[in-house]
């Protein structure tokens, strides 16, 4: 055996011997037992009252704070989302309104232009009608004048013929026919 092995074995043996010889059985129960129960209970009481209770209260408070903060943040987020949607809706509405205004203006101007056009057209039509009516009237007047003159001339011609040839009884039939023809002719 090497020296170390011998030394180690001796050490354990001597330790065991001193254990058995000097101190006796290590498992010895006496009043220490009650003393230990009492000291531990007192320790529990002191620590509970002065350490664990405040510590746990503080942890609970922190938990509460964090919970509140989270809830608050969630509320803020919801609020922000709501405002965003509100803005979006507003913007959409504004855009739609602008579109409507533009459309309305376009339509108005179109209406107006077509109205102006129609009015102009009507005006010209009216002027044309007036002009035509004037022309008609002038023509009628002219025709009437012509007819008057023709009648006058015819009468004059007839007077002349009658003056020259009235005595010529032979011409009677001719005159009659003439008159007939003049009378039938439309003026």
């Amino acid at each position: 055996m090497n020296p170390f092995g011998i030394g180690f074995a001796y050490t354990i043996a001597s330790a065991a011997a001193s254990e058995g010889g000097g101190g006796g059985n290590p498992i010895a129960i006496d009043y220490t037992y009650f003393s230990q129960i009492l000291s531990f209970l007192i320790l529990v009481w002191i620590l509970k009252k002065f350490a664990w209770k405040p510590l746990m209260d503080m942890m609970e408070k922190r938990r509460q704070t964090i919970e509140d903060n989270l809830a608050h943040a969630e509320n803020e987020r919801k609020e922000a989302e709501r405002i965003r949607q509100e803005y979006q809706a507003d913007m959409l509405k504004a855009r739609q309104e602008a579109q409507a205004i533009i459309e309305k203006a376009t339509k108005n101007s179109e209406d107006r232009s077509s109205e102006i056009l129609a009015e102009a057209r009507k005006e010209t039509e009216k002027m044309k009608h007036a002009a035509l009516a004037d022309i008609e009237r002038e023509r009628d007047k002219a025709i009437a004048d012509v007819r008057d003159q023709v009648v006058d001339m015819s009468i004059a011609v007839a007077e002349k013929i009658i003056q020259q040839r009235l005595d010529m009884k032979g011409q009677e039939a001719l005159i009659e026919q003439f008159i007939q023809e003049v009378g039938d002719r439309p003026c």
Binding site: T11, A15, G23, D30, S39, F40, L43, V44, K48, T65
Partner: protein
């Protein structure tokens, strides 16, 4: 290794070293916790406050994983104290005893013997401490069982048949026993091995003592943390079993 030094109290004795170490652990725990809750804020917590809040949240999660949280919530303070006290106790045995020279000649209350070793001692390396905590656990189990189920709590002792009564009685005794001995055994064994490493003679001190000590201390920190966790979880589980509402 820890010789049991006793003080005479009335007709009985108490383990002086265990008591002194318990007080040291309690004072350290109180200093740690009160430094943490000194400037409590619900805003940005300080480093120590953060640690404490982490512990509270950790235990809270353990409770809500194992039982109806509304039933377990009143236990939160107790369980947070439990896990931190056991952890601080477990760590205390790993701390070198720097005050040994000052108490070498103080005979009062055997302080020279109590503080005469190379390291401090874990209060949980004494079966009285672990059994005290386990007793509190089983008292809580029974008390909360009765509180939440009334007389029906005792009905589970004779389920599924009265023949099983002895098994249930053994169960309710075994629970605190296993709790106490598991914690005690782990921590006591760790301290025994620390003493053994410190006793390595001659060359081995340089060849063997310097290397194994940090390794074992690191492992002991791990064990101490795990055991405080296990004790707390088992307490929660036992209470959860007792208060769980019937499936009917």
């Amino acid at each position: 290794m820890h010789e049991i030094i006793t003080w005479q109290v009335g007709t009985g004795t108490v383990h002086a070293k265990t008591l002194i170490m318990t007080w040291i652990a309690i004072v350290l725990l109180l200093i740690f916790v009160f430094l943490g809750v000194r400037n409590l804020t619900s805003g940005k917590p300080g480093k120590l406050q953060n640690v404490l809040e982490w512990v509270v949240d950790f235990v809270r999660k353990l409770i809500s994983d194992n039982m109806d949280y509304s039933k377990g919530a009143p236990l939160l303070s107790y369980l947070v104290t439990l896990i931190m006290f056991i952890f601080f106790s477990n760590m205390l045995g790993l701390i070198p005893n720097f005050v040994e020279p000052f108490f070498k000649h103080v005979e009062t209350a055997k302080l020279n013997e109590i503080l005469g070793e190379a390291t401090l001692m874990s209060p949980t390396a004494d079966i009285n401490t672990t059994l005290a905590l386990a007793t509190l656990t089983i008292i809580l189990v029974i008390a909360l069982g009765i509180k939440h189920k009334g007389g029906r709590y005792f009905h589970h002792f004779i389920e599924p048949h009265p023949v099983f009564l002895p098994i249930h009685l053994i169960d309710i005794l075994a629970k605190p026993m296993t709790l106490a001995f598991r914690l005690f055994g782990n921590i006591y064994a760790g301290e025994v091995l620390i003493s053994v490493i410190l006793l390595l003679p001659g060359l081995a001190v340089f060849g063997g003592g310097i290397i194994p000590m940090p390794v074992w201390l690191g492992f002991s920190i791990f064990i101490g943390a795990i055991q405080s966790f296990v004790f707390t979880v088992l307490t929660i589980v036992y209470i959860a079993q007792a208060v769980a509402s019937d499936h009917s």
